[in-house]
C-alpha cells in the first residue's frame, strides 16, 4: 500500500534519514520509534509527499511519489501533524469544511456532519477552535485527517502532551482505523502506546535499527523466558534445573525466572520436570520484558555500547 525504498534525506551535510526501507500494509498499525532527531518527522514528511527524498523512493499503491504525482497521491494519504494546526478563530465545523472542500469532497457538509458524529464533537461544532482543550483539538485534527477517507494514515506523535484520558481516546480512535482496513503509520516516543496498538515496530536512529513485531523483537533480544510461581521456596528447584542444562535462572523467594535460549526446553517439559521433582506450581506465564527495555537495548546495540 505504502512503501519506502532506500529513503535518504540530507539537509546540507546533515543526514536526517539514511536508507530507510519498509512497507506498510492495509489493516496494519506500524509504529516508528526513535529518539529526538532520529528522523521520524522527516521520514513522515517524505511519505506524505511534503518533502522530497535526496535519494530513494516512496510509492503509494505502486505509484511513485514525484513532483508531478505528489499533489494527487496526497489525496490518498491522511497526515496528522505533530501540532493539531487548527485555525483558532474558525469554528470546529468551519475548520473541517475548509479541508473537506480542499479535498474536493462532493458533499462536504454531509461529510463534515458525519465526522462530527463519528468523533463525538458535534456539541462543540460551533465553538472556535481556540476554545477547545488540547485533547479535543487533537480529536478535531484526527477528524480532519480522515475526512477524505484516506487509505493511508500517517500520525506524528498523536498523543504527545495529552492527559491520560485524552491519550486513551486518541488510541482507541487509532485502533478503529485498523478495523477500517487502513494502513496506519504512527510515529511516537510513547512505548506504552506502541505496546497497546502496534502490529509492527521500526526503531529509527537516522537509519532503521530494527523492524519487526514487538514479540519478535523481544524474542530476538531477550529470548523466550517463563516465570514460574511456586507454593514453596524456589531455590532447590533452581539447582535441579541447572543440572539439566538451564543456566539462566533467576530466583526470587518462591519465583523462578527461566530462559530457554539455546536449550531444547519447552514450557510443558519444564512444568513436567518441576511437578515430578515435587514442586507445587501456582502459575506459569511467559515473561515479556517491557518494550522500553527492548527499545533501549536496540539503541545501545546500535550505538555500540553494551
Amino acid at each position: 500500500m505504502l512503501a519506502a525504498t532506500h529513503l535518504t534525506r540530507r539537509f546540507g551535510t546533515r543526514v536526517a534519514a539514511d536508507d530507510v526501507s519498509f512497507e506498510l500494509a492495509a489493516g496494519e498499525i506500524f509504529a516508528l520509534l526513535g529518539p529526538n532527531g532520529a528522523g521520524k518527522t522527516t521520514t513522515l514528511r517524505m511519505l506524505a509527499g511534503l518533502i522530497e527524498p535526496s535519494s530513494g523512493e516512496v510509492t503509494v499503491d505502486g505509484e511513485a511519489m514525484t513532483r508531478t504525482t505528489a499533489a494527487r497521491l496526497r489525496s490518498r494519504i491522511g497526515f496528522l501533524t505533530e501540532s493539531p494546526g487548527l485555525w483558532d478563530r474558525l469554528t470546529v465545523r468551519q475548520n473541517l469544511l475548509v479541508y473537506a472542500r480542499l479535498h474536493g469532497l462532493p458533499a462536504a457538509e454531509r461529510v463534515v456532519d458525519a465526522a462530527l458524529d463519528l468523533f463525538d464533537i458535534r456539541d462543540r461544532a460551533r465553538d472556535a477552535a481556540a476554545q477547545l482543550s488540547k485533547g479535543l483539538k487533537q480529536r478535531v485534527a484526527l477528524a480532519r485527517t480522515l475526512l477524505h477517507d484516506p487509505s493511508i494514515v500517517l500520525l506524528d506523535e498523536p498523543t504527545s502532551g495529552l492527559d491520560p484520558e485524552s491519550a486513551r481516546d486518541v488510541r482507541s480512535l487509532v485502533l478503529r482505523l485498523r478495523e477500517g482496513k487502513r494502513a496506519v503509520l504512527l510515529s511516537t516516543h510513547n512505548l506504552d502506546e506502541v505496546e497497546r496498538v502496534a502490529d509492527r515496530v521500526a526503531v529509527l536512529r537516522t537509519r532503521l535499527v530494527a523492524l519487526d513485531t514487538p514479540a519478535a523483537l523481544r524474542s530476538r533480544l531477550f529470548g523466550a523466558r517463563v516465570r514460574v510461581q511456586l507454593a514453596g521456596a524456589a531455590a532447590g528447584h533452581a539447582a535441579s534445573l541447572r543440572r539439566l542444562g538451564l543456566s539462566d535462572i533467576r530466583v526470587d523467594d518462591r519465583t523462578l525466572s527461566i530462559a530457554f535460549d539455546g536449550t531444547a526446553f519447552t514450557t510443558p517439559r519444564l512444568v513436567r520436570h518441576l511437578v515430578e521433582s515435587g514442586a507445587d506450581i501456582e502459575s506459569v506465564m511467559a515473561e515479556e520484558p517491557p518494550l522500553e527495555e527492548v527499545y533501549m537495548r536496540l539503541l545501545q546495540a546500535d550505538a555500540g555500547t553494551p
Binding site: R45, I51, R74, G104
Partner: protein, 267 residues
C-alpha cells in the same frame, strides 16, 4: 479553482472573525477622504479666501475649462475638481497599504500558527495556495476602495460646487480606480505574499512589502507638482505594465515558494 475558493473562504471567514486587522486600512481610507475635503473646502471656508483667487491654481482652471465634463464649472469648481482628482490616487493606495498587513502575514502567519503543514499535506498546489492568499487580501482591499469611492463621490456631490462630482465619474478617474487600482493592489499584495513566504518574521514581511507604496506615492507627488498628468494613454500604459508585472510576480512567487525550506527551516 475549487481549492482556491475553499481556502479563500477560510481567509475571508478568518477576516470576519478578526475585523480589527482591517481597521488601519479603514482609518487610512477615511483620512484619504478627509484630506482633499480639508484642502478644497474647509481651508478656503475657514480662511475666507477662494482657491480660484490663488495664482497657484491658474493652470488648473485653464486645464479644466477646456475639458469635457468640466466645461460648465466656475473657476472655484474647476480648482476643486482638480484637487479631488489629484487626491483620487490616494484612495487607490491607502486600502492597499492597509491590506498589506493581511498579505504580509498570510504565509508566515500560517507557519507561526503551525497551520501550514496540514494545509500543505492536502492536494493544494503552490499556485492555488498563493492565489487564495493574494485574493484573500485583494478582495477586502477592493471592497474598501469601492466603499471609499462611493463616500468620496457622495461627499463631493454634497459639499463641493455643483457639477464637480461629475468630473470624478469620467473615464480617466474611473479607469484609475477600477483598472489601475486593482492592478497596483494585485502587484503590491503579490509582492507581500511573496515576501511572506521567504522571511521568517511577519514584521519583516510587512516592512518589505510596504516598499510598494513608494512608487505610488511618487506618482501622487509628481501629479501634484505638475510633473506628470495621468492621461488615459498613460493610465493604459501603466496598466499594461502592471498586468505584465503581475504575471511575472505570479511566476516568481511560485518559484520562490519553497515548501521544504518553510517546513524544515522555519521555527
Amino acid at each position: 479553482m475549487r481549492r482556491v475558493a475553499a481556502l479563500l473562504g477560510k481567509e475571508l471567514a478568518d477576516l470576519r472573525q478578526n475585523p480589527a486587522i482591517v481597521m488601519p486600512a479603514v482609518l487610512t481610507g477615511g483620512l484619504s477622504i478627509l484630506l482633499p475635503f480639508m484642502v478644497a473646502l474647509v481651508i478656503p471656508y475657514v480662511s475666507g479666501e477662494r482657491l480660484a483667487d490663488s495664482s497657484d491654481f491658474k493652470a488648473a482652471i485653464e486645464m479644466y475649462a477646456a475639458q469635457p465634463g468640466s466645461r460648465g464649472l466656475d473657476p472655484e469648481g474647476a480648482v476643486q475638481a482638480w484637487i479631488f482628482l489629484q487626491f483620487l490616487i490616494l484612495l487607490v493606495m491607502t486600502p492597499v497599504a492597509g491590506s498589506m498587513a493581511v498579505a504580509a502575514y498570510s504565509v508566515i502567519g500560517e507557519k507561526q500558527a503551525r497551520t501550514l503543514e496540514p494545509l500543505l499535506a492536502t492536494p493544494l498546489t503552490t499556485t492555488e495556495l498563493l492565489a487564495a492568499k493574494v485574493l484573500g487580501a485583494l478582495i477586502p482591499s477592493l471592497a474598501l476602495t469601492i466603499g471609499c469611492l462611493v463616500v468620496y463621490v457622495a461627499g463631493v456631490a454634497a459639499f463641493a460646487r455643483p457639477g464637480v462630482f461629475l468630473v470624478l465619474l469620467t473615464a480617466r478617474p474611473l479607469a484609475t480606480v477600477f483598472v489601475l487600482g486593482p492592478l497596483a493592489a494585485l502587484a503590491a499584495l503579490q509582492l507581500a505574499v511573496c515576501v511572506s513566504s521567504r522571511v521568517n518574521d511577519a514584521r519583516s514581511a510587512q516592512q518589505i512589502g510596504a516598499l510598494i507604496i513608494l512608487p505610488i506615492s511618487a506618482l501622487l507627488v509628481a501629479q501634484l507638482l505638475g510633473g506628470i498628468q495621468l492621461t488615459m494613454p498613460l493610465i493604459l500604459l501603466i496598466a499594461t505594465g502592471l498586468a505584465l508585472l503581475n504575471l511575472v510576480l505570479l511566476r516568481v512567487a511560485v518559484a520562490l515558494f519553497d515548501r521544504e525550506s518553510i517546513l524544515t527551516r522555519w521555527k
